[in-house]
């Protein structure tokens, strides 16, 4: 059964279910964490939290360059995915896919941090309210 690795979110999945029906992958949201780091308050992605950061809150936000394999239903785009994202690695089975993922720098990036992450966003000095 064909297996895929999503280079946007690091997810692994099969393109068909055991009953033969198609499965459409969509990337989940990022988890964004608000932290205090020294004198700064920052919004960072979950994987970018550093030792010493004090987590204030967390929320989910749409992932940049997310993949959505659902088919456009507008009748014009001939079955193209809604969003290709960063692409996928595909193999005929899960074992072959695992080897391909292990050999792929892009996959390694996706595993550790998903799609290329923006730099932490300073949202204000301590004492200033932020969402």
């Amino acid at each position: 059964m064909p297996a895929r690795f999503c280079l946007s979110c690091g997810g692994r999945y099969h393109t068909t279910d055991a009953n033969g029906m198609a499965y459409y992958h969509t990337c989940p949201d990022h988890t964004i964490v608000s932290v205090t780091r020294g004198a700064l308050k920052l919004d960072v992605e979950l994987h970018a939290v550093q030792p010493g950061d004090v987590i204030v809150s967390q929320r989910n936000a749409p992932r940049a360059n997310a993949r959505d394999e659902n088919v456009q239903a507008d009748g014009k785009t001939k079955g193209q995915p809604i969003a290709a994202g960063a692409g996928v690695l595909e193999a005929p089975d899960a074992a072959t896919l695992a080897a391909a993922v292990a050999a792929s720098p892009a996959a390694a990036l996706a595993v550790t941090q998903g799609a290329p992450a923006p730099a932490p966003t300073p949202v204000g000095p301590i004492g200033v309210a932020f969402s």
């Binding site: 999503c6 979110c9 690091g10 997810g11 692994r12 999945y13 099969h14 068909t16 279910d17 055991a18 009953n19 033969g20 029906m21 198609a22 499965y23 459409y24 992958h25 969509t26 990337c27 989940p28 949201d29 988890t31 979950l46 994987h47 939290v49 987590i55 967390q58 989910n60 959505d68 659902n70 088919v71 456009q72 239903a73 009748g75 001939k78 079955g79 996706a110 595993v111 998903g114």
Partner: protein
């Protein structure tokens, strides 16, 4: 003899009326530049279709035709067509010759198009879902099969997310899901913290329709199985390694989402073995 009967006799003697008696009421006239086309929207693997039937030509001969179609599996339109000589399409049937499409996976249209494939549809003779036991045919009503219904049960193995990434599934275009059961495992890494697993259902604009959290938190270096179903109540088993939780009878239209939202999520935490039972319409 009445005027009306005389008129009928006159009509009966015309070549057109003789052909009409051969053709019957359900036939569709084509003028030699029309094509018979089948269009299929399919999401099942390994499906092959065959369109076959008969036509009455102008010289009175009956000609049979058949042509295959192996549709793509991405739900997009796949087409096959056959040129038709001038005359009448007497009947046509589309049958599944390979694969086992489910009740809602393979939708077929029988069309008459003019000029070239898909260029201009001039008639829609029939349309409907086909399975190994259900054909669509022209003329006539849709076929039926014992045990057929307008929805199909699916067990979906979801995407295994990366570490520190939530589970998220989107209802496919053109379908509605009734969520019957959801289950996944959360494994916490060594970073201290009290994780709380929350399951959410959202509409396509990310408005939360329903969410439910567990009654206990998960600490570092532990794993817990979370299961959700209708007609159950919140309960953690005696070993403390799995919890069942109730979800309502909830129907999600296309584009709606089902996601996890792990409170105090750490980058090394891992969600695994996501699996769902849904009724797809």
């Amino acid at each position: 003899m009445t005027d009306q009967a005389y008129e009928c006799m006159e009509l009966a003697d015309t070549p057109g009326a003789k052909r009409a008696r051969l053709v019957g009421q359900g036939a569709y006239y084509v003028d030699g530049i029309d094509h018979l086309q089948i269009t299929c929207f399919n999401t099942a693997t390994g499906v092959s279709l065959l369109c076959s039937g008969r036509a009455l030509l102008l010289d009175g001969r009956i000609q049979s035709f058949s042509f295959p179609l192996t549709p793509t599996t991405n739900g997009a339109a796949s087409r096959a067509f056959s040129a038709m000589a001038q005359g009448w399409i007497l009947d046509a049937v589309v049958t599944v010759t390979a694969g086992t499409p489910t009740n809602l996976s393979t939708f077929v249209q029988i069309q008459v198009v003019r000029g070239a494939q898909g260029l201009l549809e001039v008639a829609r003779l029939q349309q409907g879902f086909v399975t190994a036991n259900i054909a669509i045919r022209f003329p006539g009503e849709l076929g039926s099969s014992s045990g057929s219904s307008s929805s199909t049960a699916r067990v979906i193995v979801g995407t295994l997310p990366g570490a520190g990434v939530n589970i998220s599934e989107t209802v496919p275009a053109g379908h509605t899901w009734t969520i019957c059961a959801v289950s996944f495992t959360l494994t916490a890494d060594a970073v201290a913290g009290n994780r709380e697993a929350v399951l959410r259902f959202l509409d396509s604009l990310n408005n939360i329709l329903y969410e439910i959290g567990a009654d206990s938190s998960l600490t570092a270096n532990n794993a817990h199985r979370y299961s959700y179903g209708q007609a159950t109540y919140l309960k953690t088993n005696a070993d403390g390694d799995s919890t069942v939780m109730p979800i309502p009878f909830i129907r999600l239209p296309a584009g709606s989402k089902m996601t996890t939202n792990i409170h105090s999520f750490d980058a090394g935490d891992q969600l695994t073995a996501p699996i769902y039972s849904v009724q797809e319409e």
